[in-house]
Point group: C2
Chain length 351, copies 2
C-alpha cells in the first residue's frame, strides 16, 4: 500500500538501515549516498510510519489534554496554548473532555496509557479517590496538573495564583464599600475554585471590619451562575455585590439579574474570574480577575516535554502564574456621595 523504508532502500540500492540513518540524522553515512537516498525518498513521497517508529523508540510524540469541557472558553484558550507548545515540541495533542466525571477520567487515562502517550496534562484529579491518584502517579507517564494539589506532590503542577485572585476581588469590593457580599462557586472538591473561595473569604474576614459572605455552591457554568443568582436574590434580596468563581458563572449572574429587573452595576455589583474574551464584550463590561490561560497551557506542555525528554530524572516542577484585577464597569462604589463623584450612578435624583 503505502511506500515504506524498504521501497526507498531497494530503489536507492542500499540497506534499510542506511536509509534510516540517512533520513534521520546522517551520522555514519556517506554524503553522496545520503543525497541519493534523500532524493529517492522525496521522489517516492516516502512518509516514515511513526507507529512503527514509536514501537521501537518507545516515544509516540503524542501528549494528551484531559479537561472538563472544551466549550468552556477558559479551557479553549488553555488548549490553544497547549497545542502551540506541543506543536513547537513536535508533538500532537489529543483532546479529552472528562466533564469532571471520575470514571470517565480514569477511563480516558487508561486509554491514553494504552496508546502510550508521552505525557498527560490534566485539568483536575481532585475528584479522584486517593487510591486512584496513587495509581495515576505510579503509571509511568509524566503528568502535569492544572490546579495545585497540596496533597499529592508526585505530580507537576501549573496554576494561576487563585488564592491571591480571590483576595484581590475581596479587597476591591471592600474598597468600594460593599458589606452584603455573596460568592458563587462550585463544589468543594474543585481545587481552583476552592482556592479562590479561600482567598476571598479569608480576606473579607480579616478586614478591619470583618465581613461574612454568603457562599453558594452549584454548577460552575452559565446555567449554574444563573440558578445560584436567582436563589441568592430570593433568599438575600439585600446583597449588593457578587463575586462569581468564574466569568461564565458571572454571565449567568448577569442573565439572572436582567430577568429579575436588576441593573448592573446600579443595583448589583459583579466581579468575575478568568477574564475570558467575552468578559469585555458583555454589557456592562465585566470587572474580573485575569489569569494567563494561554500561558498556563503553554507552560504545562513545556514541562511535559521536558519530563518526556529524559525519562530518568523525573523531578516534578511547580509553576504558579500571576493574576491581576481588570477593572471594567460591572462594580460601583456603594456610598452615594462617591458614586456621584465617579459618575457611575444613573439615578442622581434618587440619591
Amino acid at each position: 500500500m503505502a511506500v515504506t523504508i524498504k521501497d526507498v532502500a531497494r530503489e536507492s540500492g542500499v540497506n534499510i538501515s542506511t536509509v534510516s540513518r540517512a533520513l534521520n540524522h546522517g551520522y555514519g553515512v556517506n554524503e553522496q549516498t545520503r543525497e541519493r537516498v534523500v532524493a529517492v525518498a522525496a521522489r517516492l513521497d516516502y512518509r516514515p510510519n511513526r507507529v512503527a517508529r514509536g514501537l521501537v523508540t518507545g516515544r509516540t510524540h503524542s501528549l494528551a489534554l484531559v479537561l472538563s469541557d472544551i466549550r468552556n472558553p477558559f479551557f479553549a484558550e488553555l488548549a490553544r496554548g497547549a497545542e502551540d507548545a506541543a506543536r513547537a515540541g513536535n508533538c500532537d495533542l489529543v483532546l479529552c473532555n472528562s466533564d469532571l466525571d471520575p470514571d470517565k477520567q480514569m477511563q480516558y487515562v487508561r486509554s491514553l496509557l494504552e496508546k502510550r502517550v508521552d505525557g498527560i496534562l490534566m485539568n483536575s484529579v481532585a475528584v479522584l479517590s486517593r487510591e486512584q491518584q496513587a495509581r495515576l502517579a505510579a503509571c509511568g507517564v509524566p503528568i502535569v496538573l492544572l490546579n495545585r494539589s497540596a496533597l499529592n506532590r508526585a505530580f507537576s503542577t501549573v496554576c494561576a495564583d487563585n488564592e491571591t485572585g480571590g483576595a484581590l476581588a475581596a479587597k476591591y469590593l471592600l474598597g468600594l464599600g460593599h458589606r452584603k457580599i455573596a460568592h458563587l462557586t462550585g463544589p468543594r472538591e474543585h481545587g481552583n475554585l476552592s482556592d479562590r473561595t479561600r482567598g476571598f473569604i479569608s480576606t473579607l474576614q480579616s478586614a478591619k471590619d470583618p465581613v461574612q459572605p454568603i457562599v453558594l455552591r452549584g454548577k460552575f457554568n452559565f446555567s449554574g451562575g444563573c440558578e445560584l443568582t436567582k436563589q441568592l436574590l430570593d433568599e438575600h434580596p439585600d446583597v449588593t455585590a457578587i463575586f462569581a468563581g468564574n466569568d461564565v458563572m458571572a454571565f449567568g449572574a448577569v442573565r439572572a439579574a436582567l430577568d429579575r429587573g436588576l441593573r448592573i452595576p446600579e443595583d448589583l455589583s459583579l466581579i468575575g474570574f478568568d477574564n475570558i474574551e467575552f468578559a469585555s464584550v458583555i454589557h456592562p463590561p465585566l470587572t474580573t480577575i485575569h489569569q494567563p490561560m494561554y500561558e498556563m497551557g503553554h507552560a504545562a506542555i513545556e514541562i511535559l516535554l521536558r519530563l518526556a525528554r529524559d525519562k530518568n530524572k523525573q523531578v516534578p516542577e511547580h509553576r504558579t502564574l500571576g493574576v491581576e484585577l481588570i477593572e471594567r464597569q460591572s462594580c460601583r462604589q456603594l456610598s452615594c456621595i462617591n458614586s456621584i463623584a465617579v459618575n457611575s450612578c444613573n439615578r442622581p435624583a434618587s440619591c
Copy 2:
C-alpha cells in the same frame, strides 16, 4: 518496563497468541483457559500496547480535527461534538489549530498521515491550491470537510445550510424595513462565509425592491468585526442594519458601536450567525442564525468512523444540517409607526 503480552503468557502458561485471542474476542480458546488468562491479565494490570497493535492491524483508532482556532466558540462546540462521537467509536481525537494558514494546514496533514490517523476532519481546505487538494484526496485516509466544496467531490462533507441562513437574515432585515444594509464577512476563499454572503446578497437583490448591501471583508474574529464596523461607520454613517458573518464578528460590531456612542438596536440593528452560547448573554441579546454545531461535529466523525471501518467502499457522503433564525433583541423595526406598535423604540419623543 511495562508488562507485555509475553508476561501474561508466561504467567498463565500459554502462548502469546492464545493470550491475544483470549483477551480480544475468545474465538478458538477454551472457556477455562480464557478465564485463567483474563484473571492473570487483570492481576498483572496488563495494558495492551496499542502502538504495536496499530502496526499490525493498520488502524490507530485516532482521528484528527483540523480547525482554524479552538478559541472560536463555534469550533469549541463542534470539537465537543466530534470528541463525543469519536469516543463513542472508541477513537481519540487529536486537535490541530491551523489558523487557516495553508502551509500550516499541509504540515499538519503530513504529520497526521505519518502518524497513520484513521481519518481527518477539516475545517476548510478552500485555502489550499487545487494541486494540494488533489494530493489530499489521494492520500489514502478518509477526509471529511466542514464546508461544502462544490469543486472537489472527492471528499465527504458536512455543513450547515449556510446559504439558506444568509437568505433568512436578508428576509428578516427586509421585513423590518431596512434598506441601508451592510454585511461583514471574511475573505472570498472562506467557504462557509461565502455561502452565507451569497444567500444574503442574492435574497436582497431579488426582493421586490432590490437592495444592494455594502460588503466589507476582513478578519472574521472579534477584532475584525470591530475594525470593519468602525470603517463602515466612517464611510457609511447612514447604515441601519448589519449582518455579521458570525457571532464573534457581531460581538466586535457591538463593541465598535458602543465605542462610537451608538445603541443597538435603537441606532443600529445587528444580526449574527452561529448562535454561540454568549449570543444570548450579551446586551442586547443577539438575534442570529442558529447552526447545529455540536451535531455537525458529531455527524462528521460518524462519517469518518464509517469510512475508516471498511477501507474498500469509500463512497463520499454529504450531509447538510438545517439552520434557523433565533429572534432576540438586536434588531428593530425601522418604520416608526410599527416600532411603536411593537414597543421596541425607546425614544417615542423623537418619532
